[in-house]
Symmetry: C2
Subunit: 636 residues, 2 copies
Amino acid sequence: MAFQYLTNVPLDEAREAYKEALLTEGFGAGTETVPVTGSCGRITSEPVYAAICAPHYPASAMDGIALKAGLTFGAGETTPATLTSDQFIVVDTGDPVPEGCDAVVMIEDVIRQEDGTVRLYAPAAPWQHIRQIGEDICAGEMILPSYTEISPAAIGSMIAGGVTEVSVLEKPVVGIIPTGDEIVPPTPDPAPGDILEFNSSIFSGMLDGWKAVPRTYPIVKDNKEAIREALQNALAECDIVLLNAGSSAGREDYSTEVIASLGTVLFHGIAIKPGKPAILAACSRKPVIGVPGYPVSGIIVLEQFLKPLIDCWYHTAPAPQETCTAVLSKNVVSGLKYREYVRVRMGEVGGKIMASPLGRGSGVVSSFMKADGIMEIPQGVEGYEAGSEITVRLLKKREELSRTLVAIGSHDPLLDEISDLLHASDPSLHMSSTHVGSMGGIMAVKRGETHIAGVHLLNESDGVYNTAYIKRYFPKGGVRLVECVGRKQGLMLQAGNPKNIKGIGDLTQPDVRYVNRQKGSGTRILIDYLCKKEGIETGRIYGYDREEFTHTSVAAQIASGTADAGMGIFSAAKLYDLDFLPVCMEQYDLLIPDEAWDTDLVKKLLEILKSDVFRKRLEALGGYELNHPGEVREHF
Amino acid sequence: MAFQYLTNVPLDEAREAYKEALLTEGFGAGTETVPVTGSCGRITSEPVYAAICAPHYPASAMDGIALKAGLTFGAGETTPATLTSDQFIVVDTGDPVPEGCDAVVMIEDVIRQEDGTVRLYAPAAPWQHIRQIGEDICAGEMILPSYTEISPAAIGSMIAGGVTEVSVLEKPVVGIIPTGDEIVPPTPDPAPGDILEFNSSIFSGMLDGWKAVPRTYPIVKDNKEAIREALQNALAECDIVLLNAGSSAGREDYSTEVIASLGTVLFHGIAIKPGKPAILAACSRKPVIGVPGYPVSGIIVLEQFLKPLIDCWYHTAPAPQETCTAVLSKNVVSGLKYREYVRVRMGEVGGKIMASPLGRGSGVVSSFMKADGIMEIPQGVEGYEAGSEITVRLLKKREELSRTLVAIGSHDPLLDEISDLLHASDPSLHMSSTHVGSMGGIMAVKRGETHIAGVHLLNESDGVYNTAYIKRYFPKGGVRLVECVGRKQGLMLQAGNPKNIKGIGDLTQPDVRYVNRQKGSGTRILIDYLCKKEGIETGRIYGYDREEFTHTSVAAQIASGTADAGMGIFSAAKLYDLDFLPVCMEQYDLLIPDEAWDTDLVKKLLEILKSDVFRKRLEALGGYELNHPGEVREHF
């Protein structure tokens, strides 16, 4: 059952060696001829030369009359030239210049006479207002070099140059074979243990963007013969094959063995994280990549190994990557043995760009969706300290970062609603929320990392929310506390309250499993306070150290039956149809540093807080009390 | 016949008023529900919330054994915990954690005993190596806000969150109606006067890139009733209609009249160039745009008026435009009455970015293909002087500019072949050539605007090419002259030489029409010299002041029958099957300033000049003599 990766090869080495090996075997695109009208975005396989000139005849460049320039020589203000009707021909823009004519006079300069003649008060220069043959493109001229992406204007140029068909590189067909006994197609109702198959959809989206053709095969069970058959079939139909999962070394991982039986495994195990168990193999000239099952690993492996092969296929240079320098918001430790890719959220606060590492689990696909950038930690580097300047590869436009409202602090589902309203009211604005609890929010404001922080911190001595904490942490002021909402806190319980929990006191009962919020969150501080007040020793509460980061995730644990109770807000309980035992009404406010106050982002936020639509959204969530949302409670 | 535009409205004013008017009429996207698996790149029409948690069950995060953590409390190096086979269950990564278990121990830390029990030398913490329900996504959480583009990772997140269908904004269907008696479908063999219909293909390519669905209708003749019928039909099937051409005011331009009969014309005539005759109209909530017939005007009108409507449809912010500062290479004069868009070629030479205006004719579609950027000259500004710092909107990646070999100088078709070989040998390298003649090339080198300049300048006194001119223009040196090719110059004549031209002396015959090269080109200097030597007065040569910029375009005029003779190189004559009367062998060399010498671009160029494949390409063109191409003749 123990496993061993064959190799732990550095990324660049593996990638280069893999590419070289494939090129030696003849990896590369075939060509096909397509109509020019349908060739937009395709890549030329050879130079395209014009077949005809454009214009292909001498054309009038104006509405006017065509004539022999010589007839007008000597014409002037006082000595007009008069042309009889057989000495000129009326032409519109684009009309051919008639045989024998060598100039066009604009209609505005033509004085028609009653008798059908025209007068001209200036001479015409030979070839004036005539688009010469080939003015745009000459027959035989190279319109496009090889290996060039065909733009809309290039299509126009080719058609103008009499080219109706063009030879382009075939698109690579990439087969995706999902494997695994536990894998099931997308469904809103999976059974426990079922793993939803979404990797093929992610990969297909990536491949579309890379001008490759994804072809997803049906899910194959963990059976050596079945996998072998599926791989053989895909190899017959595709240019590249991705065998998804089974690349690790669990009890039922057959990928290496199967691939080796049909081709050559060059590497199994690359010194990257995530993505370590990748398999790089070739069946004659066709690449076969064993892609790890976790989505984040899969995405990294496709970016690092498949994309370079597609660049190679199309003879295109790797797209330049937009990077930027950012300040790391917390320590990141990495292993020395591999290069690590860390997804980060980013925000620009007070002119400084911050990067906060997102969850590093390979299973957390939402981290890729939320990520604004990727930080690379090279092999041999132990990590970076908070405050370090790091280089981040941007996944979004740099401009978008400056237009993103950063919220770091206490969680409430209302933040998602604000995010939606903000972007809907101005599509250039975005919001990014990170849930680190109220104390985390205060610290983020202090470090200048956030525009706003949700806080709900009860001062035990006077029962007032937030102000005491803010005074303590911001003795010099520089922040505003903006009223947001009152919200109902209480114990969330399994529907029907089967354990008959009547209050905090019942949490110590032996059959009650509690699920807690993380230290530093306002809700944790509240339950700590309540227990202390009632003289309950928290060590006696089973699960008191089981920590979740949001109200919603606490509710989710209870709804799933792995816990019986947890402290949280009414809207979270309602979302999961849980029972709810109200404990108190608390004040959830927004802390905003002065440096963020005058920004468009905060102005728009305040508008939203005061809006009717915000009020309606919170009514739908339930458990909120809105008094004067958006008003400054105190400027410290 | 005289025409008048209804308006000359400033761009921004027209655009805003048009958008407002359409929104008031109800312009905007409907929604449709699509499978998540096919939703990549679509825009959400409402927030997407997770239906289930991901993971949707507590899952093992490791290959190992699942157990009750309590059984291991107290385990240590010397006091292992022993578990009997009914106290643990073997699990693989992703397996559900069995009922009653609350921790997973990695297989590496499990010591199996002969009797089927296992030993653990460390305690397990509750919930260790377990992916909690909702670790990735919690049911009810907002996965995506409204009006957000669906990324591959977002597809994964939605499927993981149990979402299988998603409501997205419909794509706008944009009808394109080409009109005009003279317009014909793409063909390599058009009759004189036929205008090839390629605008619809250009527009379709642009629309694809904007996530709109182009629908091109058959070409409609210049007939009021036919156009009206086509427009009505398109309005019934599309969300937006482009009526292509007929928006000017020539003899057969019915667009305004027809559109006005079916809806409201808001503007006819916008203060932009190109694009002035655009019509902005609406038939109830559907935009109808009268697009000028010239391709460049059409592209500008679509970018300036259609793209903002599509952004509005999708509730997306306009994409940030990459701009850069560049030095203008020559004076550009513009009218005060309009905003002008000038296409420019760009190059980075010696760290300085240069911008050279391309042909400004609206009919020159290749100018858009060749353009690296667009310079805007605001309404009310007369233009800019050479040497001014201007802002250019980039059409290519900034990085691509730095990897582009700039060639400004004398024309030869071999430059296109070098361009092709350069990009094929290294896909990150590009070449941009501008044909301004040998003297223009020398001046471009002097001004630091080019990496290389093709030159073939005969010194009359000693009959030696190039060196005398270079010494004169670069008295302080700083340039290298690199040998390129010898090439045959001569008189290109109509096939069969019907005018029986035997030499330069015959050019003055009254029935001979000459076509010349522009002043400053090496070929013009050559013909001037030859005429002088033979005592021919050039004023007596008909067409001597008819100037073309390339050998190919001179050949094209002769082939088309509008001229009988022109000076040029053998390969151009061969391309058009012309007769050729050799006059001399001349040396075509490349002038390279020292500051460009050590660049990758020039190094690769020299490699290509010395290569066999370059020699073979030139053999195919014909008329060249290769001695030591790529060798430095002299370092000045």
